[in-house]
């Protein structure tokens, strides 16, 4: 299979503008006759469905949630990047493009990333017009902050709830189209299969999660906006119901899963506290601006803290190892996410971790409290005795991070103003996803993938505040245009019937698959399989990977899959409200995706971005890329349970020079 990226000719900065102006259009009278299915209502799905509705297409939009306002985009805290250069600090479209390519460790497509940087500015205009209450300066103009180690302030934000406000904006735009009748909204409908007719994507099979009824929906094109697959690790910062099934079902029907080993592990999450734990909670990356990360120098001290015989306060300054400041003096606590995460793992693997499980490091604000307190006391001419300085310093920290400190205290029961927080890395975002070309179309004609569900823009590592940007870029400003390329060839195609043999067969397949899960009638819960799967993937395909572990992981996943199909217990029936059945089908798909993830990690014998292979390190033990052999996208084809097949799209860099990332 040849993967054609369909990147238009011409200079990088002109590709999108020229392409947009020369793309075939669909006339309004034809738009009314064309139907498009959008699966998912996060930032990408809601914005795409709303925009296509505005353009005059007939849109059918699906979510498994009870309302299109709930997708996990809502939980994004930090912000959204845009090359507005409102701060006059030298930002530009090219700089945002360059930072994104470099941050992704040179494993993304130049043309897609440049387009993303170009449309970023329109997103801010659109969202502001919708009523998104971005932070503002005293003069009433929009405020920015810097984020994720870049040198300009280009991040727009809405307190610590940027994702929520942007999603509500898109949800409202979608609601307006629903009211107008241009979008038919199907809540609590889960896509369980993709239907192809004559090789083209023509519809989906859904299950009504309230009644259990299976339904066939047809359209001229299908758009997947179904998010990431972080929950393959069981514990992640994703929502409980986030899953890969819609995308994976498309892979089972011929789409390709690209770079599934590129996963982002976020360094600042609250550590796991016990076996019952269902998810991990992220603490915003902004905390690293003021917090210092350390573990005790001696294993004895670490052991004493784990057992509760000592606390952080008993460890004197000389006995603390501020390992990021030691290893990376230039960036210190502000190294990128992947570097900070691996360093925490190294410290804990060496036995210096501090949480009861041994998997945790301290994030300490005491220096910041002293520093801010002293500044404040001096500038206000107040007493600089210890008590007063600490009091003033705590006030400053509260103003900056109050809501995060409160959230930490609710979850951990510890007061972070008095004692350092304990943090540990957790899976947060997946850069890999369905392979798409420049039009965001997959290798299956008529099937598109947008937002976190595709692989296209972040390479091997995503920069902070870029996920929201990509979701909305795809949904508002890219897909609604590029889908016209395909739809303009469909204007002579009548409404697609949903009672053809292809649809009937697909519905039958789904029914048999679901009934099969119930008929196993074994003894182990779905949850217990998900936990075991997560453990295998985390241990062998987590922060650090090697050949032996990956091969072992693949064998273990396969064994687990066999066990699952022999011994899982799913209560109830398929024709009723049955959350356990929903979970079972999702976990079954996670097992197949998980195996593919490990194959991808095994194939890529280089370290890049979030993917760290122990076999590929520099003399100093840092990640080492292998540009000669791995400057390609690995797109995996499902092979009926046998080893998946890889297809390669060579990445060409005409506008940037490939360099080694260094943070020393």
């Amino acid at each position: 299979m040849k993967l054609d990226s369909k990147v238009p000719e011409g200079a990088l900065a002109e590709k999108w503008t020229k392409y947009k102006s020369s793309m075939p259009l669909v006339a309004p009278n034809n738009k009314r006759r064309l139907e498009v299915i959008v699966v998912g209502t996060g930032l990408a799905g809601a914005s795409a469905a709303a925009t296509m509705g505005e353009l005059g297409y007939n849109v059918k939009c699906f979510t498994f949630h009870d309302s299109p306002r709930r997708a996990h985009s809502i939980a994004a805290q930090g912000g959204i990047n845009a090359a507005k250069n409102y701060q006059n600090d030298g930002d530009s479209v090219f700089r945002l493009f360059y930072d994104t390519i470099k941050g992704g460790d040179y494993r993304s497509r130049e043309a897609n990333v440049h387009r993303l940087a170009e449309v970023s500015t329109d997103i801010i205009d659109q969202c502001t017009a919708q009523g998104v209450p971005f932070a503002r300066e005293y003069g009433g103009l929009l405020a920015n902050r810097s984020f994720g180690g870049v040198q300009v302030s280009r991040t727009f934000y809405a307190r610590g709830q940027t994702g929520q406000q942007l999603l509500i904006g898109a949800y409202q735009a979608l609601s307006r189209q629903i009211a107008k009748g241009s979008v038919d909204m199907y809540n609590r409908h889960e896509m369980l299969d993709l239907v192809k007719v004559d090789g083209k994507a023509r519809g989906i099979i859904t299950r009504n999660l309230v009644t259990g009824e299976l339904e066939r929906f047809s359209a001229h094109a299908v758009v997947l906006a179904t998010g990431g697959y972080g929950n393959v690790y069981y514990l992640s910062t994703n929502a409980m119901n986030s899953n890969v099934s819609a995308g994976w079902r498309a892979v089972r029907r011929g789409a390709l899963m690209a770079n599934p080993c590129y996963n982002q592990i976020h360094p600042t999450c609250i550590p796991v506290s016990g076996d019952y734990q269902s998810k991990l909670t992220l603490m915003s990356e902004s905390l690293r601006n003021d917090g210092r990360i350390w573990v005790p120098k001696s294993k004895e001290d670490a052991q004493a803290i784990k057992e509760g015989r000592k606390t952080a306060l008993d460890i004197v300054e000389e006995d603390r190892d501020y390992y990021l400041e030691r290893r990376y003096p230039a960036f210190g606590n502000l190294v990128p996410r992947d570097v900070a995460s691996r360093a925490a793992k190294v410290a804990c693997d060496e036995g210096n971790g501090v949480a009861p499980t041994g998997l945790g490091v301290f994030l300490d604000f005491s220096s910041a409290i002293q520093r801010y307190g002293l500044q404040e006391a001096n500038s206000r001419g107040l007493s600089t005795d210890d008590t007063n300085v600490t009091k003033l310093g705590k006030e400053i920290i509260k103003n900056k991070y109050g809501n995060l400190f409160q959230m930490y205290e609710k979850i951990s029961g510890e007061n972070p103003y008095e004692r350092p927080m304990k943090i540990y890395p957790a899976i947060h975002y997946t850069m890999g996803g369905i392979w798409v070309d420049y039009n965001l179309e997959t290798n299956v004609p008529g099937l598109f993938a947008i937002g976190e569900a595709n692989f296209s823009d972040h390479g091997a590592n995503r920069l902070g505040a870029s996920a929201l940007m990509q979701g909305l870029a795809d949904g508002y400003f890219v897909l609604p245009y590029t889908i016209g390329n395909f739809l303009s060839t469909q204007i002579r195609t009548d409404k697609i019937a949903n009672d053809t043999p292809e649809f009937i067969q697909a519905e039958k397949d789904v029914k048999e698959r679901l009934q099969g899960l119930i008929d196993i009638n074994g003894n182990q819960s779905v949850e217990s399989f998900h936990k075991k799967l997560g453990k295998i993937i985390w241990e062998n395909g987590g922060m650090s990977r090697n050949e032996t572990g990956l091969k072992k992981g693949i064998a273990e996943v396969r064994a687990l899959r066999d066990e699952f199909y022999k011994d899982v217990y799913v209560p109830g029936t398929i024709s009723e409200f049955n959350p356990e059945l929903e979970k079972a089908a999702r976990v079954a798909d996670f097992m197949e995706l998980g195996e593919t993830l490990l194959f991808d990690a095994l194939n890529r014998n280089e370290s890049c971005g979030g993917h760290f292979r122990e076999e590929s390190v520099s003399d100093e033990g840092e990640a080492k890329r292998d540009d000669n052999n791995y400057t390609y996208v690995a797109a995996w084809e499902w092979n009926d349970g046998q080893d998946p097949k890889v297809h390669k799209e060579k990445l060409k860099f005409d506008n940037v020079e490939l360099k080694t990332r260094s943070y020393k």
Binding site: A50, T51, E54, D66, S67, P68, R69, R70, A71, H72, I74, A75, K84, D125, Q126, T128, A129, Q130, G131, P133, F134, A135, R136, E137, Y138, G139, G140, L141, A158, R159, Q164, I168, Q172, A173, S175, I178, A179, N187, A239, M240, N241, G274, Y276, Q277, S278, K279, K410, I411, G413, Y476, F477, P480, S525, E527, S528, Y569, P571, F577, P579, E580
Partner: protein, 248 residues
């Protein structure tokens, strides 16, 4: 700690519900929903029907979780959603009563899961600013005073969980609706449609089966995002004003 749980069970919207007693072994670090996960694993291992409850992000922002715990929507802790409530609030041998959000406009689907699409209906009636993709002017073309933006934000922070409605003896959606009316109506971008929006959303609220407001104030007290009653006052003023000044 061992806990006694008195949980509402109901197999479908038209079935008769009842309270069922369960006991579960929990620890103080668990979240409330993790405690229910433990109970469900226990029930599944006994091949019994697990308890259906709604949840998703477990970070207090998606608005999916919706339990009435000992008579209070989202439980005893102020400004906290069910998913953010932790078991250190409880002690050994406590008995906890768990029910779904109850309101005429929220029919029960199963056990503790309710249908809140009526809230989407209210938003669809006008809870938006009519701007198509691509029509926007530059974001800095219209400055917005910092206090105005902050004020609008306080209203926009609503997570659409429906606790205000469950808390209200009349099942009124005034706090939910007024939060949206205030969010959009206070911003210059949303002022153009303000009057029409208020009228349409208020009319839809009635159509969806929400009750009338009698100024009890329970909505504000139970709101996990601490949305203020001032929003209702703002909407009432806007509503009366719009009825007096528009022609249709």
């Amino acid at each position: 700690m061992k806990l006694n749980l008195k949980i509402w069970r109901q197999s479908g919207p038209n079935d008769k519900g009842y309270f069922d007693m369960h006991s579960v072994e929990a620890n103080e670090h668990m979240s409330f929903l993790e405690m229910l996960d433990v109970l469900n694993e226990q029930l599944i291992s006994e091949k019994k029907d697990p308890i259906a409850f709604a949840h998703d992000c477990r970070e207090g922002i998606c608005g999916t979780c919706n339990l009435v715990i000992d008579g209070r929507p989202h439980g005893p802790q102020k400004g906290t959603t069910t998913c953010q409530l932790h078991m250190r609030q409880y002690k050994d041998d406590d008995t906890i009563v768990i029910e779904p959000f109850r309101a005429t406009a929220f029919p029960i689907i199963k056990d503790l899961v309710v249908d809140r699409s009526s809230l989407d209906g209210v938003i669809q009636a006008g809870g938006y600013i009519s701007v198509n993709t691509g029509q926007a002017v530059d974001a800095n073309a219209i400055p917005v005073e910092q206090e105005v933006a902050a004020d609008a934000f306080d209203s926009a922070t609503c997570i659409g969980c429906g606790a205000c409605i469950a808390a209200c003896p009349n099942g009124s959606a005034m706090l939910f609706t007024s939060a949206k009316v205030s969010h959009l109506g206070k911003l210059p971008q949303g002022k153009v449609e303000h009057k029409k929006r208020v009228q349409n959303m208020v009319a839809q609220m009635d159509k969806e089966g929400f009750g009338l407001c009698s100024n009890v104030g329970a909505c504000e007290a139970e709101c996990p995002k601490e949305i203020s009653l001032d929003n209702i006052a703002f909407m009432n003023r806007a509503f009366i004003g719009s009825v007096l000044t528009t022609e249709d």
